[in-house]
Point group: C2
Chain length 557, copies 2
Amino acid sequence: MNITESTLSIFALGGINEIGKNMYVLQYGDDIILIDCGAKFPDETLLGVDLIIQDISYLQKNKNKIRALLVTHGHEDHIGGIPYLLKQLSIPVYATNLTLGLITLKLKEHGLLRATELKMINADSNIEAGAMNVTFFEVNHSIPDCLGIAIHTPEGTVVHTGDFKFDLTPINGRYPDFYKLAKIGNRGVLLLLSESTNAESPGFTQSERIVGEHIEDAFRKADQKIFISTFASNVYRVQQIINAAVKTNRKVALLGRSMVNIVSVAAELGYLTIPDGTLIEANEINRMAPDEVVIICTGSQGEPMAALSRLSTSNYRQASVVAGDTVILASSPIPGNEKSVSHIIDNLFHLGAKVIYGSGSTSGMHVSGHAFQEELKLMLTLLKPTYFIPIHGEYRMLQQHRTLAESVGLKSENIFIINNGDVVDITNSVATQTRRVQAGNVFVDGLGIGDVGKIVLRDRKLLSEEGMLIAVVTLAKMDCKIISNPHIISRGFVYERAAEDLYNEVNQLVITIVNQSQRSNGDKRNELKHNLKKAIENLLYTQTKRRPMILPFIIEI
Amino acid sequence: MNITESTLSIFALGGINEIGKNMYVLQYGDDIILIDCGAKFPDETLLGVDLIIQDISYLQKNKNKIRALLVTHGHEDHIGGIPYLLKQLSIPVYATNLTLGLITLKLKEHGLLRATELKMINADSNIEAGAMNVTFFEVNHSIPDCLGIAIHTPEGTVVHTGDFKFDLTPINGRYPDFYKLAKIGNRGVLLLLSESTNAESPGFTQSERIVGEHIEDAFRKADQKIFISTFASNVYRVQQIINAAVKTNRKVALLGRSMVNIVSVAAELGYLTIPDGTLIEANEINRMAPDEVVIICTGSQGEPMAALSRLSTSNYRQASVVAGDTVILASSPIPGNEKSVSHIIDNLFHLGAKVIYGSGSTSGMHVSGHAFQEELKLMLTLLKPTYFIPIHGEYRMLQQHRTLAESVGLKSENIFIINNGDVVDITNSVATQTRRVQAGNVFVDGLGIGDVGKIVLRDRKLLSEEGMLIAVVTLAKMDCKIISNPHIISRGFVYERAAEDLYNEVNQLVITIVNQSQRSNGDKRNELKHNLKKAIENLLYTQTKRRPMILPFIIEI
């Protein structure tokens, strides 16, 4: 299919499902709008990978058409890829005040700040992008200053919700704008892209406000130091912690680089109200009476180098958790982090701390920032889209979101569950999904972008499970006689000193195989290498039932 | 402290907390009783380890004193270590009919069946073990034929609950024996060891019976094939699945080795009632009409080689999941398995299956086999022990169990939270914890038991994160001149073909370093090796910000 000028095309380079992080592309004719550019931290199967970003080949080929990058909010999975994108392409970035503040932190780190065109927007902004016109609406989420996006194209209006929930008692008094949403819906929405993170959760999320009440209660009960850990970017929660500290006559210290950075950006831009004299430096903690201080720290997801983890092993210079202190985890472990978070809780109990924790909202110290089922249905009902693409969730969540959409009256055939790179084309109000563009994950490892691929990861996995054994043997080029006895070393296989006999056997085997190959004429080096590999593999497997990576080296002189 | 004849000593070689699996030791004078001998599958941090068992040094030193191994029930974490124990020590094994059946499967695999003395017991058995006398009581759990143990010693009675819940409507009609428990309590319990798996969960577990009702409902709604996955050892659930299949006129096929093995043992020993003609072979599935068959399969924990995982990727020879089939996960992921289970659910949705799943009891397809808080308090109240050791849980769960015990009136100073190897000694009714015996984890990797230790695992981790680079250089012994140019290879570091320039630089660097070392006199080979390692490390880190393991080889001829 060719894209004609009157075709509206929508696809994701990341963010339809959890493989790859948020980046959506809207193209109408020669105009392209990008929404979000996130990054994702790898799970434990991606050995040694630092960050996952998107394959932007399509954008590189069409760079002259890109009019704008619109950013819905300042979370890592929506802004983390921006520096890598801007290193390749020059695109103006549109975002709200706080979001721009957080993007700025990143661009500074990467030395990209000067070269980037940053444009501040708010819910009332209106952007022209070629044949398209963009308006916005505010949404509630676990970070302030979040936008949903309505893109008005000649084919019709496309709405992208961003991450959202409906918080009817929001901390910042910015109530959901139902009128604006209903008005957009009333004028007609061609296509809705709505997030699916909590599509499996029945009901309606609780308000962030209840967390504040629980925090204040816990503060009133504590008679020693209070440590409380949460996402640094959850400015509402940080505000509520500060409020509770002020009410209970405690000073507040911040531990962890991202906590210090984000709080300072948020305070500077007016998103946090911190009474003068409330904040103290980390090195003042030990000079305060225990019942006069609250320590807000990073590491609520069990990150091993963050403040909470180091506190739990008494490994933080400026502060320590002692028996009787209160430690609050105002968070819920993201799937995959359960074990490291549990481990930290165990360690805190070992120190004698009163630990307040609990999955989901059971402790009252956490509520989700993502819409539950009734809210997802509410969004669908307000906007009444013709077509619907559930985004941002694992496949089963997209399916659940589909079921929810059907339950509020959307036609099954008008719902597209697609993968990153699958294109939905809309012409004359008819949507089809028949073609793909290049999309996928790119791994960042150290300075390398995209140079760690399947083969390297496969080798890392092999090495990690059984280790390796190296055998070096030096031969005379002329007659293939062994000049220097084989050298055998291993790593990650067996403890070398305990395996002397096994090593001697390998040594002897190498000599035997090399001598055999001398007798049979015409042996090539690669064949000898192969024979050595196979023979050593067999010997080791028989003796140990393990299969380390075998690396034979033949040096010919 | 010396153990005198009148001291009762209790400790665990595994199973007090989640590090290491169940094995408890009771010693009175010259008589030792062992309770359970489990094994644990490693988590992803123990790279390449197959199984974790206990350090049994203490038992080897005291082998003449061991009178019996008592086994509470047939789960892996209570019987998995038995073959490894019996390879070292000859001990009579006491267990119930089904438990012995499952132990027998293991002993056969290890060729140990003939040499082992197996003794069948039941709740009415009475065992003399030196100065001690042992009686039993039945408990409910997620496998039939479970026992709690009461060991009557001259110091008093020690009760070990085993794994338990109170199921007031049990599938097999074997109601909790409150009278027997209360009688033991009334006669006086010196020490209780009670399991803590669900000490964080408020309330009372639901009965296994409700799972049966939900299964039957789901079966009635299904109009094609039904796949249902559960632990093979949950014989009650397998029975309820078979009952529902019979009621809805479906035949039953079993997929997965452990499902076939355990069902056949359970049926043979009378723990399963399967009407004639109900079971069909796996290769008959495709000959049946889709609405005439139920397939019970292994893999409910996301194990990659088990039936459910292979079905989810259409990779099972005798059966396949097609659009419209129903797949039920009658299980809840064990912490750490969430992601692999979710991945399977995603794949099943991709195949178009109706997937019924849910964490905890939200789907109605799973209930826990471990006592919740009210049941733990009930056990404590029935037995009214003087001393209490919470066992079998992570540290925070042991702490929660301590709080529960205090809430029902136990004295705080009479509760011991200990680690594996910590000994509680009781003399003249006074308990103290001051000494330790050797205890710890032993890793099984292939045929090796205990030969994979910290160094090997550290190397595997290093290799897994950044890979490695090997540089081999051959020198003349006489003048240290390079005879053969350096050979450089890497694995798991960068994709070799893409990194030619980097390799050339390393090559050049090796030559430079070797030449420098020739000029400075007295250089030793180890020093040269060290210099090569450092120089290559620096070069690679500067160029790539990665730190692969560097292995320099110097061959002197």
